[in-house]
């Protein structure tokens, strides 16, 4: 084994170990973030789902920013079809 090969092997082991320890944390943060995002979607679409929203006028302007993720969101929330009649994403 040449010096160069040794180094790259160590690098690979280091990377692997790093990944081994870091991945679970990263996954739980990613999940926490996704949960926050899902909640945010729910708040933006609250009025349409029949939950009174005092700020419907203002959440509407967030709609363009989250609209294209609506389909993924309702699928993940366990709704096979779009829950809103007037959003025919599927």
């Amino acid at each position: 084994m040449t010096q160069k090969e040794k180094e790259s092997l160590l690098k690979r082991i280091e990377k692997g170990l790093h990944e081994y320890y870091v991945a679970p944390y990263r996954r739980s943060f990613a999940r926490a973030q996704r949960d926050e995002d899902d909640l945010f979607m729910l708040l933006v679409f609250a009025e349409n789902m029949g939950v009174p929203n005092p700020a419907a006028y203002y959440t509407l302007e967030l709609l363009p920013l989250v609209y294209d993720r609506f389909h993924e969101w309702h699928k993940r929330m366990g709704m096979e079809r779009s829950p809103l009649d007037h959003i025919g994403c599927c």
Partner: protein, 327 residues
């Protein structure tokens, strides 16, 4: 009394029961302030606008010159809602394939008549008027809708800023998580996240959401601070010396106090004169009984009486002559 108050504040609200003469009294006050050299903007927040009827001319959603130093404006919630929704629908169109345009438009059309829409639109315009108006005018005088509506409008900035505050907090939390994920390297286990991946377009989207929310929060807190600042803003309750307006005044005063808005003057409009015959004299005695009830509850509030006149108040000249009655 009323004039002294008006001259010492930058923002004045006139409220009270329907039909007591809020529009006339606020217009007269505005005319009096303009007469003493201030630049005044008179704004009606009542969806059933009366300023145009009072001045016997068209006044719309943009400031209209009434006399030197006095401009008037009628906030139009329907128009505001329409413009707002049109902006949203055009930015949605940019994102959507053409065949989904009609779906988007259906969604927006439903939102148009959603409860709270008009209220929010009036609040939005009010916030704009207070923020921009004080740049161009020395004084803004609001002629508001009848009591219940207005009491609600006055607490709305607080409710709304609490609501946006909540949304911003949630976004910050999501952002913090996203930041952690970025620092810990790429994560491929969750491809279907709703909002926020490490790439630029996602960060761009995130910052747009945040900007919109922050802009909202700024508007609400700005308006709320101005309204609650008793050095700058005051609320005047207009009433007639009759049983129902007196009771409603007491109630409105209570509601405004809860919203920490300072009420500094009562205007009793259409008082019966004592020197015009037996009938009106008797009426005047009855009024004193009602005003005694009022004084019992609202002890320290200064009162401005305005006497009933034989003719209607229509047009600038009549309003100015009424302004002469104010002290």
């Amino acid at each position: 009394m009323l004039l002294k108050l008006a001259n010492s504040k930058k923002i004045l609200f006139f409220g009270g029961k329907g039909g007591v003469g809020k529009t006339t009294v606020s217009a007269a006050t505005a005319a009096a302030c303009a007469d003493s050299g201030a630049k005044v903007l008179l704004v009606s927040t009542d969806p059933a606008h009366n300023l145009g009827h009072l001045f016997d001319r068209n006044i719309g959603g943009t400031p209209t010159r009434i006399s030197a130093g006095l401009d008037a404006l009628e906030l139009d919630p329907q128009e505001t809602v329409n413009v707002h929704l049109k902006e949203i629908s055009s930015s949605l169109h940019k994102l959507m394939p053409t065949n989904l345009y009609s779906e988007v438009d259906k969604h927006i059309a439903l939102a148009k008549d959603a409860p709270g829409m008009h209220e929010a639109a009036i609040l939005e315009r009010m916030a704009d008027v207070v923020e921009d108006g004080l740049r161009d005018y020395d004084k803004i005088i609001f002629d508001t809708a009848p009591s219940g509506h207005t009491a609600r409008l006055m607490v709305l900035p607080e409710v709304m800023s609490a609501w946006t505050e909540g949304l911003i907090k949630r976004r910050e939390k999501a952002d913090r998580f996203a930041e952690f994920v970025r620092e810990l390297g790429e994560d491929t286990s969750m491809q279907d996240k709703t909002i926020g991946n490490a790439d630029d377009s996602e960060q761009e989207r995130e910052s747009q959401i945040r900007q919109i929310l922050l802009r909202r929060r700024h508007k609400f807190t700005h308006l709320r601070e101005r309204i609650a600042d008793s050095d700058m803003t005051s609320f005047v309750i207009v009433l007639a010396a009759e049983r129902l307006p007196v009771l409603e005044t007491i109630e409105l005063h209570q509601q405004l106090k809860q919203a920490s808005i300072s009420v500094d003057c009562l205007v009793v409009n259409k008082r019966a004169p004592t020197d015009s015959g037996e009938f009106l004299k008797e009426r005047q005695e009855q009024e004193e009984i009602h005003l005694a009830t009022l004084a019992k509850t609202l002890t320290s509030l200064p009162r401005q009486d305005i006497f009933l006149r034989p003719h209607d108040i229509v047009g600038l000249a009549a309003v100015e002559s009424m302004a002469g009655q104010l002290t």
